[in-house]
């Protein structure tokens, strides 16, 4: 699984980097950033889903790696 933030939708609420700091960080203006390549270990999936379910802008996607 891979996480992705749509920068067109992100408004910098910061819920992702509050809830899943291992997967997300922020840039110098507070917008969410995926750390690294976004590919995550299975044990990180719960945190990733939490971030998805708490993003008010629906800016985070979980993608099945093909």
């Amino acid at each position: 699984m891979k996480v992705h933030i749509n920068p067109e939708l992100c408004q910098g609420h910061g819920r992702c980097y509050d809830l899943a700091p291992g997967l997300f960080g922020d840039d110098e203006e507070g917008y969410g950033q995926v750390l690294g390549d976004g590919i995550m270990a299975p044990e990180a999936e719960h945190d990733a889903r939490l971030a998805v379910l708490n993003c008010p802008e629906h800016a985070i996607e979980l993608l099945e790696e093909s």
């Binding site: 408004q11 609420h13 708490n54």
Partner: protein
């Protein structure tokens, strides 16, 4: 000492434009029907807006009123979100609904940028401030905030009943923002008055409101001059020196942004802290659970923000249009109720209940879209520290007299009198 002739003009001069807006007839008094005559200024609304909003959401999702020269109140999450995202059809030129509409020429900057700004100016003005309000930058205020919360609780020593709104919640955002702007901490009580002038007293005669707003801008101008004489590392000096499009900011943008930073963070965070303590005082199960599981606080806090969202914004309709089943006219107000959106059962399970371990919580307490509250990381830090310190120091507390609790009127809602028994 540098002189800066941007700030030497008579402030009265620049207020000419503000006076050129449109005034509407002041209509106050009991509401006949909330669907056709709503007013967020009536006591029934401040006591319990949720019952009114829930009823409207079921029978008339977009209410109307002739008051304030015409206004609409959407109550469904979907409608509130659509308006927040649609900056083409809804302007932020004035975000406080009143009997005075500033002139259309005030757009896209508005009186207190960037909250009052529309695209494209909005993006550039907001960009100037974002760096000062990231989670990391705000984190630097945390130790001082925690120490200040402890000092407030130290001052309760010997008292069995304290007013948690007046003697605790209120002081925290005032102290933090004074520090960030570089204003003297002893001016705190004055900020309270400025906040009341701007956000309450909406139905006062417009001339009186203008006069009150001028008092705020005179204060801000004095602070600008103080910072020009002795620049320091704070937001006021930052704004004085900031550049946009290769030039320093116009003076009204500097003072407008200062006004926003001063006003926007006080009533709002005060309300969020107060409403959370009110809930815990009357809900022993939730209070005991948070004492037993302090790690749940960040999750619980988001639920308090959802259920007791303190902030409602306003918009102005740009052109006549048929919108989601109603006929809106140009210059109609929209009362953009994030609290109503946050309790829409179509968006949230058990929307009317406070569920402190709610896992999925896409609430809109800090708005949606480009105007997401600039200070949300600051507000969350203050709310978390205020609750952590309170629960650590005063784990057992109850409402001393539920009938004595009072709530603010207008677009920012929170307890203003909150007597809690702590001994």
């Amino acid at each position: 000492m540098a002189t800066d002739d941007r700030f030497t003009r008579d402030p009265q001069e620049s207020d000419e434009d503000e006076l050129a807006g449109t005034r509407s007839e002041i209509i106050a008094g009991p509401v006949r029907d909330w669907a056709t005559d709503f007013s967020h200024l009536e006591p029934e609304w401040s006591t319990d807006p949720y019952a009114i909003q829930d009823d409207l959401r079921r029978r008339c999702p977009i209410a109307h009123t002739e008051r304030f020269g015409g206004a609409w109140l959407p109550t469904r999450y979907e409608d509130v979100a659509s308006i927040a995202y649609d900056t083409d059809r809804f302007s932020s030129r004035s975000i406080i609904l009143s009997n005075f509409r500033p002139p259309p020429e005030l757009a896209p900057i508005g009186g207190s940028p960037p909250i009052s700004s529309d695209p494209p100016f909005h993006h550039d003005a907001r960009k100037l401030l974002l760096g000062a309000f990231t989670k990391q930058t705000i984190g630097r205020q945390e130790p001082a905030t925690r120490a200040f919360c402890h000092s407030l609780i130290d001052s309760f020593s010997g008292q069995d009943v304290v007013d948690a709104a007046r003697d605790y919640a209120q002081h925290i955002p005032v102290r933090v923002i004074a520090n960030m702007l570089g204003f003297p901490p002893e001016d705190g009580p004055q900020f309270r008055e400025f906040v009341e002038d701007l956000l309450e007293g909406i139905n006062l005669p417009p001339d009186e409101r203008v006069e009150r707003v001028q008092r705020l801008f005179e204060y801000l101008l004095a602070q600008v001059h103080d910072h020009l004489d002795s620049p320091r590392d704070d937001l006021t000096t930052y704004l004085i020196n900031a550049e946009l499009y290769g030039q320093k900011l116009p003076p009204d943008v500097v003072t407008g942004a200062m006004a926003l930073l001063l006003i926007a963070g006080i009533d709002t965070t005060w309300s969020a802290i107060g409403a959370s303590l009110w809930h815990l005082a009357k809900t022993p199960g939730d209070r005991e659970r948070l004492i037993a599981e302090p790690g749940l606080l960040p999750t619980a806090m988001e639920e308090f923000l959802r259920a007791y969202a303190p902030v409602t914004m306003a918009r102005l309709v740009k052109e006549d249009m048929h919108w989601h089943g109603v006929d809106m006219k140009a210059e109609d107000w929209i009362l953009l109720s994030f609290p109503a959106a946050n309790r829409d059962p179509a968006q949230f399970d058990r929307a009317g209940e406070v569920v402190i371990d709610r896992e999925a919580n896409r609430h809109a307490a800090f708005g949606l879209g480009i105007h997401r509250c600039l200070g949300s990381h600051l507000a969350r830090m203050e709310l978390r520290i205020a609750l952590e310190v309170w629960l650590e120091r005063i784990p057992a507390f109850t409402l001393d007299d539920p009938a004595a609790v009072t709530w603010s009127a207008g677009q920012i809602r929170g307890p203003r009198t909150l007597p809690l028994r702590i001994g």
